[in-house]
């Protein structure tokens, strides 16, 4: 599996072959608070880089989930729709959001590595 990459919208992405797995970061869940609702894209749908690909709601507010790269949705994680609290428990593991068949691998180059993201997250939250 590839190195984890991160977007400015606080999504993480890993690549296995031509399929990418996408979720939201721990930092994002800490900012959101208790997540009580999740909506995921439909399987088979084509999503565009930086476009909306889902919604999470905490007790406080709703936030869009964006896709950091373009592709076709090949799988979604129904378990987080059924039990959104899982997103707070393991956001960067079991609580992934959706998988994409990647359209253009070079889009990954625009994303941050872990170190860059941690610095970005720290700067933007203070």
């Amino acid at each position: 599996m590839s190195e984890v990459k991160f977007s400015k919208e606080h999504e993480w992405i890993t690549l296995e072959g031509e399929v990418a797995t996408i979720g939201i970061t721990k930092h994002a869940t800490e900012m959101l608070g208790d997540i009580v609702f999740a909506e995921l894209p439909e399987k088979g749908k084509n999503v565009e880089k930086d476009g909306t690909a889902g919604v999470v709601e905490s007790t406080k507010a709703a936030s869009d989930v964006y896709t950091p790269i373009s592709g076709e949705v090949v799988d979604v994680n129904q378990s987080i729709v059924d039990d959104p609290a899982k997103i707070n428990e393991d956001p960067e593991g079991a609580a992934w959001f959706f998988k994409l068949k990647v359209k253009d691998l070079s889009e990954l180059d625009t994303l941050m590595n872990k170190e860059e993201y941690e610095k970005f997250a720290k700067e933007t939250s203070s």
Binding site: G33, D34, V36, F37, V55, E57, T59, K60, A62, P84
Partner: protein, 367 residues
């Protein structure tokens, strides 16, 4: 300038995330988060800093009672000393400037006002009383609520003799050789108390409550608790264009006052006699989707019939809950309605309030 309550430092010490609310820096949540804080209040005892709310003292005797009855649609003559009533400050159109709790004291009245409304309320009330009385919106006092099934036990360890208080009644109590004022009331659907005491004593007082097992709870859980209990939030569910009758709060206007004079009384009487066009109802979406304030409500023929005024996830009822206003013929329980969330129509049902119910300590109807 954003104000701080005297408990600001304690909130920070306990890991509060602070937000601006009604001109004050207030804790929205602490480290454990809204859901845990909510559940802790339902099972134990939660402490709420509500010092941003207005504590308005009006000094006077029988003439003051007469004059206040011309302002508030409530029966103050029959009120015993230390007894409280829920009421409204209204405009001539029957709309609500604020919802409030009025308590009769030995030498006048105490009115608890919403933080965002208190300055305007003060001016309106002062003017309506023709500047005849001494009004004191007392900023030297803090207000603390302790709510939950263990509230009486925890508070009872810090203040003696509180368990005899009945719901919507208050009294003077002794704490650390000081007189403090406590009412049995709240905004969570739980048994609980509100304690008014001097700013300089409040941190020590709250520290003691914490030592006996209560926990600080933020505004986030205060909102989910009150919504589960079916209670209105001024500014969301009530405003200057909404009457108590439309808000389904007719119970708060006693029959004995329906024919007497107060601001908006003609309109209220007409609404009681003829009915209203829209009514506040409870709403349960059929999915987990949360319908927040201003979500449009439709019937099955796509006709717009109202809007949501408050909506959240209810941690104790474990489902999405909301309140809103619908055209009167859609107000019966179990009426099927649709909520437009992010462009999709989510099926929902009109339901009875509250969403969450507990038995109260004997006394009066909850507000």
């Amino acid at each position: 300038m954003i104000k701080k309550t005297p408990l600001y430092n304690l909130h920070i010490q306990h890991g509060a995330k602070m937000v601006e609310f009604a001109g004050y820096q207030m804790p929205i949540q602490y480290k454990s988060g809204i859901i845990q804080e909510h559940k802790f209040t339902r099972e134990n005892a939660g402490i709420f800093d509500v010092s941003h709310m207005g504590q308005l003292f009006i000094t006077g005797s029988d003439q003051l009672t007469d004059d206040l009855e011309k302002i508030f649609p409530v029966n103050l003559k029959n009120l015993k000393i230390n007894q409280s009533k829920y009421s409204f400050l209204m405009n001539e159109q029957g709309g609500i400037y604020d919802d409030l709790i009025i308590t009769k004291l030995k030498d006048g009245y105490l009115i608890i006002l919403n933080a965002a409304c208190k300055k305007q309320d003060f001016e309106i009330i002062k003017k309506k009383l023709d500047y005849k009385y001494e009004l004191n919106l007392d900023e030297s006092l803090s207000l603390i609520a302790i709510q939950g099934p263990k509230a009486k036990d925890v508070l009872g360890k810090v203040v003696s003799n509180i368990t005899n208080l009945k719901f919507m009644n208050g009294g003077e109590f002794e704490y650390d050789n000081l007189n403090i004022y406590i009412t049995r009331s709240g905004y969570t659907g739980e048994d609980g108390f509100e304690i008014s005491l001097e700013n300089k004593n409040v941190e020590k007082f709250v520290d003691q409550l914490i030592n006996y097992g209560a926990k600080l709870i933020g505004l986030g859980a205060r909102d989910t608790l009150r919504l589960e209990a079916g209670l209105c939030l001024y500014g969301n569910d009530l405003d200057e264009k909404t009457s108590p009758i439309e808000a389904n709060l007719k119970w708060a206007i006693p029959k004995s006052r329906v024919d007497s004079d107060y601001p908006g009384s003609n309109i209220i009487k007409k609404q009681i006699d003829d009915g209203v066009k829209t009514l506040r109802v409870g709403i349960k979406p059929e999915t987990r989707v949360i319908a927040r304030g201003n979500t449009k409500i439709f019937d099955q023929n796509d006709k717009e019939i109202g809007k949501v005024t408050s909506g959240t996830f209810g941690p104790s009822v474990e489902c999405s809950i909301a309140m809103g206003y619908v055209e009167n013929n859609y107000s019966p329980t179990n009426t099927k309605i649709f909520l437009e969330v992010r462009g999709k129509k989510v099926p929902a049902n009109v339901c009875d309030l509250p969403f969450y119910k507990k038995n109260y300590v004997k006394g009066e109807k909850n507000v």
